[in-house]
């Protein structure tokens, strides 16, 4: 039981990381109605660029420079690819961004190769911050936690309290009105997209050295990402936060406290022989099942309540 605090802390950390990733995606959808299949690719680019910049100029330079680069890339991305499609053409958006994700993945392999790159935690932050139940909680993980919480607070503040935030929210539901007020809708959209993508990139810079930087990292995390924004409700920042945290904690708990189907199967049918259907059934347990829970959740939510937990409108 002493490991519970350790588990909770790491689950929260992982959840916040997922939130950073999902925040941009859900905001872009909420503000612009655009679904970006390549969002995780920007996360991946952030990780790779974070590695490269850290090799040339150190980790902290990466934290500052990479989101800026990705913000610009996001603007280019939106202008070249997305703006040519009609706003309602979401299938078209999915198609184009799907192709873009593929191109980015291949491009990354051409430049950095196909193996994981050695992106390490900065020297200053290795080591333990405190000890929980006999296990160390590293400084670096705490740093990520702090940054992600701050980020959430900043985004919320901008959206709810500043004029820019109000305009952005207005642009989603009444774009003509916003244009009539004299604001360049294109520029507004650029900023939204840039911000969303930059946050994903920042997540990459910070998480890359923790989770590894390798070419399939984007396609691995994309389905999870969509679970978060869909279940939380597309466009809802709060929804994304809650679902991300929930997934982080559930995943952690399922892996820590393993419940296996084997006792049940053995009780009902006797000990199964290796290689039979029953043996496969007996092998089910919460740990190996954990990566699948999110998809089950998404399925249930989409069938019962398609707008998600906090979404404004049905998908």
């Amino acid at each position: 039981m002493e490991i519970l605090p350790f588990v909770l802390l790491n689950g929260t950390l992982f959840g916040m990381l997922l939130f950073m990733l999902a925040a941009g995606l859900t905001l872009i959808y909420g503000m612009m109605g655009v679904i970006n299949f390549a969002h995780a690719s920007f996360y991946m680019l952030g990780a790779y660029l974070g590695y490269q910049v850290s090799v040339w100029a150190g980790f902290w330079a990466g934290m500052i420079v990479v989101p800026v680069i990705l913000g610009l890339a996001g603007v280019a991305f939106r202008r070249v690819l997305i703006s040519r499609l009609a706003i309602e053409d979401q299938v078209g958006q999915l198609l184009v961004t799907f192709g873009a994700a593929m191109v980015i993945t291949e491009g990354v392999q051409i430049v950095w190769g196909r193996l994981a790159v050695p992106y390490r935690i900065p020297q200053e932050m290795t080591g333990a911050l405190f000890n929980v139940g006999g296990l160390d909680f590293p400084v670096y993980r705490f740093f990520i936690l702090v940054v992600s919480v701050l980020l959430f607070a900043v985004i919320l503040l901008i959206l709810k309290r500043t004029r820019i935030g109000l305009i952005l929210s207005a642009a989603q539901s009444k774009p003509q009105m916003v244009r009539a007020m004299g604001y360049d809708l294109d520029l507004v959209n650029d900023w939204v997209f840039a911000a969303g993508v930059a946050v994903a990139g920042l997540a990459g810079v910070m998480a890359g050295n923790l989770l590894g930087v390798y070419p399939v990292m984007a396609e691995r995390i994309t389905p999870l990402l969509f679970v978060i924004v869909v279940v939380g409700g597309l466009g809802s920042l709060n929804g994304a936060l809650i679902v991300a945290l929930a997934l982080g904690l559930i995943d952690t708990a399922a892996t820590t406290y393993k419940l296996s189907a084997e006792p049940l199967v053995t009780a009902l049918f006797g000990a199964p022989e290796r290689g039979t259907f029953l043996a496969d059934l007996a092998r089910f347990n919460t740990t190996s099942f954990a990566p699948i829970l999110p998809y089950l959740l998404m399925l249930i939510v989409l069938l019962i309540r398609p707008r998600g937990l906090f979404g404004q409108r049905d998908l």
């Binding site: 588990v7 296990l135 952690t252 190996s288």
Partner: protein
């Protein structure tokens, strides 16, 4: 509706595209590995090494009366269906020997194809040389005249690992972590059986979703801690192993790692020397370039490959395969698979740890095996494509070939 005729034309024009790739009169070798996709680097490395090795044989005059080898790479994109298609292509081009090893599922596809092909096309037989043993389906259960494996089986490796642990004084209790697919399940089951026989206590066991799906390993680390294990035995590789090692060392977990895939340059680079050392990683392996046992050809390969490929010679079993094949051909007096494969059983092999051989009952290579551990001060650090990883390995124990040879579980029927 010109489109329909255009279609027929297009379909017909694909005939022009599959042009044959081999010259006449050579002994044709096809290396079927992933040359594109996520594992392209691994597949590419393997192809390069075989081209290098067979090139050396050719430069030294070839085999028999001057016959040369010709090696091509066929990309399977790590797709089992593509492997089957490439086997078809290999058959069309008159390939004699097929080499493969990354992923036991491909070995299965290859053996399936070869059995059907050799049966349907007498006189054009192909043989399969496996450079890695991943699963029990190849040798232990399914040996064949036209098949030879140049890697100890999973059981042999785990047996060596346990013996090494005992000799090094590393006691349990052990927590096992393995990827949840055929290979990982084999490792898990075999290790538990062997550990039971050796009296090693296993206090926990986990099968994780493989290939980078698990993002966060800290819950697992928590469970290892709660179990009281002192050693973690893992068959994981790639991003899974990187994350596991990172999470474990970051949390200050006091365990040693007995791995199968620790000595992989990419993993080593991503985790780094300090963490590898802190994790006390050991692994069973066929070669440690810091201990060539004085064998001249190995000394030479160590330095030559670094010059030519900017990579250390850290893997030696491909050389053993080439030597084995050459030995078989010379002994049989012919390079035809139908003849040469009859002489591959019994071939003697030179290794850094002593003499090895190919066992005749099941065409399984039996060699002395090393238990290696991390050495930050190793004279020869691991070099990979120009990048110096920063640390190397040190031989902790050598397990002799006789001890490595477990009971064969199948017997080849001569055709």
């Amino acid at each position: 509706m010109k489109i329909k005729s255009l279609l027929a034309l297009a379909l017909a024009s694909t005939t022009a595209l599959a042009a044959p790739a081999f010259a006449e009169g050579t002994i044709k070798i096809a290396v079927i590995e992933p040359l594109s996709g996520p594992l392209a680097a691994n597949g590419g490395d393997i192809l390069e090494r075989f081209q290098f090795l067979f090139g050396r044989v050719n430069d030294a005059g070839g085999v028999l009366d001057g016959q040369k080898f010709e090696v091509i790479g066929l990309d399977n994109g790590w797709d089992v269906e593509k492997t089957a298609q490439q086997m078809q292509r290999a058959a069309d081009e008159g390939v004699d020997y097929v080499i493969n090893g990354i992923g036991p599922q491909h070995a299965t596809a290859i053996t399936n194809f070869i059995r059907k092909h050799n049966r349907r096309k007498e006189g054009e037989e192909m043989a399969f040389l496996a450079h890695t043993a991943g699963d029990n389906e190849i040798t232990p259960k399914n040996c064949d005249y036209y098949q030879a494996v140049f890697d100890p089986t999973v059981e042999m490796k785990l047996n060596a690992l346990i013996l090494g642990m005992q000799e090094m004084g590393i006691e349990g209790p052990v927590f096992t972590i393995n990827p949840d697919f055929s290979f990982g399940q084999t490792v898990d089951a075999s290790f538990k059986e062997l550990a039971g026989e050796a009296g090693i206590e296993i206090v926990g066991s986990e099968m994780i979703a493989p290939f980078g799906q698990v993002q966060d390993f800290t819950p697992l680390v928590a469970r290892i801690k709660a179990s009281g294990a002192k050693v973690v035995m893992t068959g994981n590789f790639g991003p899974d192993l990187i994350r596991l090692l990172n999470a474990s060392v970051d949390s200050g977990l006091d365990v040693r790692f007995a791995t199968l895939y620790g000595p992989d340059p990419s993993t080593m680079a991503a985790v780094g020397a300090d963490k590898f050392e802190a994790a006390g990683v050991i692994a069973p392996f066929e070669y440690d370039e810091n201990d060539t046992g004085g064998v001249p050809v190995l000394e030479e390969l160590n330095s030559t490959y670094r010059d030519v490929a900017k990579t250390s010679w850290g893997i030696d079993r491909y050389r053993m395969m080439v030597d084995g094949l050459v030995g078989a051909i010379e002994a049989a007096g012919s390079a035809e698979p139908s003849v040469a494969m009859g002489s591959i059983g019994g071939v003697k092999l030179t290794t850094a740890g002593g003499e090895g051989f190919v066992r005749a009952e099941d065409n399984q290579m039996i060699i002395p095996y090393f238990i290696i551990g991390v050495d930050k001060a190793a004279p020869a650090t691991v070099l990979y494509k120009g990048d110096d990883i920063g640390f190397g390995w040190r031989t902790e124990k050598i397990i002799p070939a006789e001890t490595m040879a477990l009971e064969p579980t199948c017997e080849i029927e001569k055709p």
